[in-house]
């Protein structure tokens, strides 16, 4: 198959989008690197405190008129944006591949899931309706309205550079708030392209702002009194120790979505033919760089025959995964985002081996098709004899690794799931409804998969998560996002 054309040409300078204008940052400039070739494909300014303050001010001023714009009119901007996203679907997807490294199927999937959030937010005239009760006392009625709050900050990670801000932004603006998005400085191009379409859709200046940068921008959001709330997706240490407490201290509401070490539990009665590809997607999709990825495979039962046969099927399939340029449509796995991330993953593999794990499949020296440098590439790695207390289980690896644990029964597997410090998304593969129900009932985590390797909630369901993987109360996406971006205002009235 031919390699698809790269959409990013030359080395564009990625600007901030503030108050409806494209503004070059006065801060330092950082290279945006394509992990496939390790070449610089863009440059991005690292914004200053003054620049984030300016964006928040613009958003605050835009809020005054925007909240008065009827919800049905606000939706029309989103409908136009949705149309433009469809028209630019392929380019947006290829940008993600070029700046992140993921395969084109994965990028198109990311684009689609991002658009779905815009579509769901278009239902806001219904979604943000309140409630009323007549005659709560004689001649007195009470009603509840959902009202916007002001300016929200959206801080997003590198692994889904296009989609993740769309878990929040469409709901925030549909409900009448204004937003300042801080894309990851490692992959800022997707959000810049999205902002171009926001601009084309005609959103009023200041409603949707994008400020590129690092910690200064994050701190600027956290410390600014006009930011009413923050949605964050990133690592657990940052979310737990910085974002969540700081939001609490400054009275901001927050959705803090963090790391994971998800368990994929395989029962001996699973459908092996269907389970193996689901596990490939789970463990090695997006090169393992997602909070819904499987990190640990728990094979239940003491039947060595099943274990060996199953692991043989898993290993044989993983071994054949085609690694290379994500714009080559035959490629099944791209590189990890950068050398530092690769080194970190390699460190975890070493740690696992030191702790007693053994290698069933060694992905440290991958075969990259197309003659690209292997600088950022890793192949699928499968480690056996893994125990629940090892760092490769208790910490998030965020790479294409599978740690295999064996348990005598389902109870032990559930115990391992529940004892893990992360509680994001665990799954069971079985043909037994009884075991599936037991797993769904007893495992404490935000999302449960039954014969599904990536438990990615659709846009009309909350992107859930529990302790260790999530801090806050409400989640992004769907109705919970609508609740998060609105305050409940109650009015009780009597006409005397």
């Amino acid at each position: 198959m031919a390699i698809l054309e790269e959409p990013i040409k030359g080395v564009p300078k990625i600007k901030n989008y503030v108050d409806g204008e494209w503004v070059e940052s006065k801060g330092e400039v950082m290279d945006v690197v394509n992990p496939l070739t390790c070449e610089t494909i863009a440059q991005v300014g690292i914004s200053t405190r003054e620049e984030i303050d300016d964006a928040i001010q613009a958003a605050k001023e835009a809020y005054v008129d925007w909240r008065r714009t009827p919800p049905v009119a606000r939706c029309r901007y989103l409908l136009r944006l949705g149309q433009l996203l469809e028209e630019n679907f392929e380019e947006l997807s290829r940008v993600q591949t070029q700046e992140h490294g993921k395969t084109i199927d994965e990028s198109r999937g990311e684009t689609r899931r991002g658009i779905e959030n815009v579509e769901v937010a278009c239902g806001i005239p219904t979604l943000m309706q309140g409630a009323s009760a007549e005659d709560i006392a004689s001649g007195i009625d009470e009603y509840l309205m959902r009202v916007p709050l002001g300016v929200f900050g959206i801080i997003s990670p590198f692994n889904f550079p296009f989609m993740i801000p769309l878990w929040s932004a469409p709901y925030a603006v549909a409900t009448g708030n204004t937003v300042v998005i801080k894309p990851t400085e490692q992959c800022p191009i997707s959000q810049s392209k999205l902002a171009e379409l926001v601009d084309e859709a005609g959103f009023p200046p200041g409603v949707w702002n994008v400020v590129n940068g690092e910690k200064t921008v994050v701190n600027g959001m956290l410390e600014h009194p006009d930011i009413k709330g923050i949605t964050f997706v990133g690592s657990t240490p940052t979310g737990r120790d910085v974002i969540f407490p700081k939001c609490g201290a400054t009275g901001k509401r927050s959705i803090v979505q963090c790391g994971a070490s998800n368990m994929m539990v395989v029962m001996p009665d699973c459908n092996v033919r269907g389970t193996v590809p689901a596990l490939m997607t789970s463990f090695f999709g997006n090169a393992g760089q997602r909070c819904l990825a499987g990190q640990n495979l728990i094979v239940v039962g003491e039947d060595d025959g099943f274990y060996n046969e199953f692991m043989e099927a898993v290993t044989a399939t993983a071994k054949e995964i085609i690694i290379g340029n994500g714009l080559d449509e035959s490629v099944q796995m791209g590189p990890v985002k950068d050398v530092q991330k690769k080194e970190r993953i390699l460190g975890y593999i070493e740690s696992g081996l030191k702790d007693g794990a053994t290698l069933r499949l060694d992905g440290r020296k991958p075969n990259v098709v197309g003659g690209y440098p292997d600088t950022c590439f890793l192949g699928p790695t499968i480690m056996e004899n893994v125990r629940p207390e090892m760092r490769v289980v208790t910490e998030e690896i965020f790479g294409p690794t599978m740690g295999v644990i064996r348990t005598k029964d389902l109870d032990e597997a559930i115990q391992i799931c529940n004892d893990n410090p992360y509680h994001n998304a665990d799954a069971i593969f079985t043909s037994s409804g009884k075991d599936a129900r037991k797993f769904q009932y007893e495992v404490n985590c935000g999302s449960i998969g039954i014969n599904i390797g990536i438990v990615a909630p659709m846009a009309f369901f909350p992107f859930s998560g529990m302790s260790g993987s999530f801090y806050g109360i409400l989640h992004t996406q769907g109705k919970e996002a609508v609740r998060f971006f609105t305050e409940s205002k109650v009015c009780i009235h009597r006409w005397i």
């Binding site: 198959m1 395969t103 199927d105 994965e106 689609r112 449509e329 035959s330 490629v331 990536i454 990615a456």
Partner: protein, 143 residues
């Protein structure tokens, strides 16, 4: 060549449909017969690809096994479109039937293999297969 990802399978659909459309256009150009059938088929091919591609873009999800959905071999569905200098119209129609059978076979297998993807993808493979199936008796009736 192996086809494993959804992206490359959809591109292969494009290749099949364009190649067979060109074949029908060439046959009409060479023999100037049955314009209503041959050029209609060529036009339908473009629509079939659009239909499949639209289904793909509408439901592709990184959460489903898009990169591992297929175990196809494109060689199984390759077909020759060149006609010999002295080929008769009947020879051309016989070749057209062969091509249709290959493509039909591809759609049936692709529909079966993509059952784990969102339902729209196998459904549209089946719909196109069903529509194309009617071509064979039509081609047999010509000449």
């Amino acid at each position: 060549m192996k086809l494993q990802t959804t992206a490359e399978t959809i591109s292969f659909v494009k290749e099949l449909e364009e190649k067979s459309a060109k074949f029908y256009e060439d046959v009409f150009r060479k023999y100037s017969k049955d314009e209503d059938v041959l050029l209609t088929f060529a036009g339908e091919n473009k629509k079939y690809f659009t239909q499949i591609q639209r289904a793909y873009y509408s439901v592709i999800s990184d959460a489903i096994e898009g990169c591992y959905a297929f175990k196809l071999n494109s060689d199984d569905y390759e077909f020759e479109t060149a006609l010999a200098e002295d080929a008769t119209y009947s020879d051309a129609l016989a070749k057209a039937i062969e091509i249709e059978e290959k493509i039909l076979d591809f759609y049936h297998v692709a529909a079966y293999q993509s059952m784990s993807l969102m339902a729209d993808i196998p459904r549209n493979f089946k719909i196109v297969a069903k529509k194309r199936k009617n071509r064979i008796p039509t081609l047999e009736s010509l000449g």
